[in-house]
Symmetry: C2
DNA sequence: GCCCGGAAGGAAAACGTTTTCCTTACAGGG
DNA sequence: CCCTGTAAGGAAAACGTTTTCCTTCCGGGC
């Protein structure tokens, strides 16, 4: 039915090796022979068998994208993940690779070992949702399997990663609030994502220090990713004696929870309180008022991770692990303004 | 380094075939031998090579998910796609399959042929974004490659598909508006997605006929997926002499465009005009007011498509192509109410 | 005339499984 | 005692490439 590399060889009275070389641009084959081979391959509708190629050459030409999370995925994060996936898929396809998706929930250590050992893919992009990033990272380092951690700082010193500049984004957001005149600015963080929330909190602190503002511990509240987490945390902040005049939230989802708490308390955004989010998901332009937020280049993140990983594979073990940060942008909408007291 | 099936055989003084049979529960192997083999396989950390297995048995144990679209993907649809992907990925993993993602933009006919012929995957789930569904479907039918079309009715008579009940969802939405007392109800459709928009329009028409209401052609407006398409179409509707008192929109995105046009015209939702969307994306609960809409079970769609496809493969050519519809639910929020005139 | 080198092409060994067809041994029936 | 059937296990042929060595041939330098 489907034609073989052997079929082509027979058809032309050549040897299998010559055909293979011609098709792959390998050894030395005369121009005319190569042309004839390509011609016939095309005419006979030849498509190489991936499996055979993989078996012999030990390259699958597949990239695995694993999403590693402790808690079930909420549809809140769909857009976040899909944009990254989109970037990765496009870049893979562009390099002749396929993207294999592993959306595992829970600590699937065994599954990960299995993926490495049975060589399902050539390398892995790790997207860690909630829960520690370290367990899988250590495992992969141990296995000597090529990988890159996406958008979260791994603890292991020699683990390659590519992350948005969470710290700088947070700095910019808080700086923006300070410039508007705010002095009591809260950070509404996330307690089950220490790496990312930590980075953003660090940026928040740096921005305050940078302007010699006090860092009031009462204004830093971490909450879980329960639907009501950020909402309740915000209610807590509103009841404080010295209520903050502005809030920098861990993410747009957190900011939306905050908006709700504020509006239920009969306060107005941005007149009474300013709010800044992080991510710039589509929903954030639909809130009331439209949210000021920090935009991550998600598609770019997926794309660059893929490219970096492929480069790393091509360079072999020798190359230093890639550790890079990509910039984020503050998007000013209507949820921030000068404080009422100003 | 990594242990072989041969290694296990040697280790136990058995033949390769016996080991293979034991591992796959195949031919006849005594219980004690099988136990010893499994034991040793585990101890030596044996993982079968996917490539070799595929080469010999001609099964890749991979499902391809292709997203086929004419226009570049807008991030508006991220959530839609990701929820489907999530369902498909979970179901695949559950059946021991991998999910390979092909997010191709444009009419990649050649790529599709390549996927079939080089047997990259065992079967395909087709998600068609914009543009005709038929070209790829015809191709796959011709190739005799197992596939299923997701959430859109293919024209080919014998093409397998799994779709949300667009028609019934539309019927329910319009019925809901009629029950509220509306008589002049518009349909805000999409012109570059004839299959889906057509199904929904059919449901709209049936609901009107069902209550003996006039079908005013001026109240049916199709617009493109440009960001401003639905917005402008809605403006047109508002300028009509006999303005509609309710609008059923092709999707939540369309509805959001409509909301904007209505609010800019100084009218209120739902007081002056009621609006219903379709999809129930996350954004639709954030609009002002929260949108009444028809919820699709996207994750379920991905899951069932995967299961159906795997079943189809297992049953072989014999089985009739699967053509199934899965139900949708009307979600009533705050964007619908009785007409002002009532 | 001899030797050397490079270019073109070929033979054959992998790669790690699955699967078909054998062999052997043993038990049970007649 | 012979024949048959069955269970347990083995030999070997695939599967379709890539890749390493060879062989052959021819031209050119000395």
């Amino acid at each position: 039915m489907t034609i073989d590399i052997r079929g082509i060889a027979k058809h032309l009275g050549l040897s299998v090796s010559t055909v293979s070389k011609a098709l792959n641009g390998y050894g030395s084959v005369s121009e005319t022979t190569r042309a004839r081979i390509l011609q016939v391959a095309h005419e006979l509708n030849y498509y190489p068998s991936r499996a055979a190629r993989t078996l012999r050459s030990n390259r699958t030409e597949k990239i695995g994208l694993v999403l590693y999370t402790n808690t079930p995925l909420s549809s809140r994060s769909s857009e976040y993940y899909f944009e990254i996936i989109r970037g990765a898929a496009t870049a893979s396809e562009g390099s002749g690779y396929n993207l294999v998706l592993y959306l595992t929930v829970g600590n699937q250590r065994d599954r990960l070992i299995n993926i490495c050992r049975s060589h399902e893919v050539d390398c892995l992009i790790l997207m860690v949702g909630t829960g520690g990033v370290d367990d899988p990272v250590d495992l992969l380092l141990e296995e000597g399997f090529p990988f890159i951690v996406l958008n979260k700082h791994p603890h292991a010193a020699n683990a390659p990663y590519l992350v948005s500049d969470h710290e700088q984004g947070a700095f910019d957001a808080v700086e923006h609030l300070i410039e508007l005149g705010h002095r009591r600015i809260a950070y509404l963080g996330r307690d089950d994502d220490p790496e990312t929330s930590g980075d953003r909190q660090a940026g928040y602190c740096r921005a305050l220090r940078n302007r010699d503002l006090d860092l009031d511990p009462a204004l830093v509240v971490l909450s879980s990713s329960q639907p009501l987490g950020a909402y309740q945390a915000m209610r807590g902040l509103l009841e404080l004696p010295g209520r903050p005049t502005a809030v920098f939230a861990y993410s747009d989802a957190w900011a939306i929870g905050a908006l709700r708490a504020i509006s239920e308390a009969g306060l107005a955004v941005p007149d009474d309180i300013s709010v800044v989010g992080f991510d710039d998901l589509r929903a954030s332009s639909l809130t009331n008022p439209p949210l000021t937020t920090v935009r991550q280049q998600l598609t770019e993140l997926g794309k660059q991770a893929t490219e970096a990983l492929l480069k790393q594979i091509a360079d072999g073990e020798g190359a230093a692990p890639l550790r890079r940060t990509i910039p984020v942008d503050l998007v000013v909408r209507k949820s921030t303004a000068g404080p009422a007291s100003a």
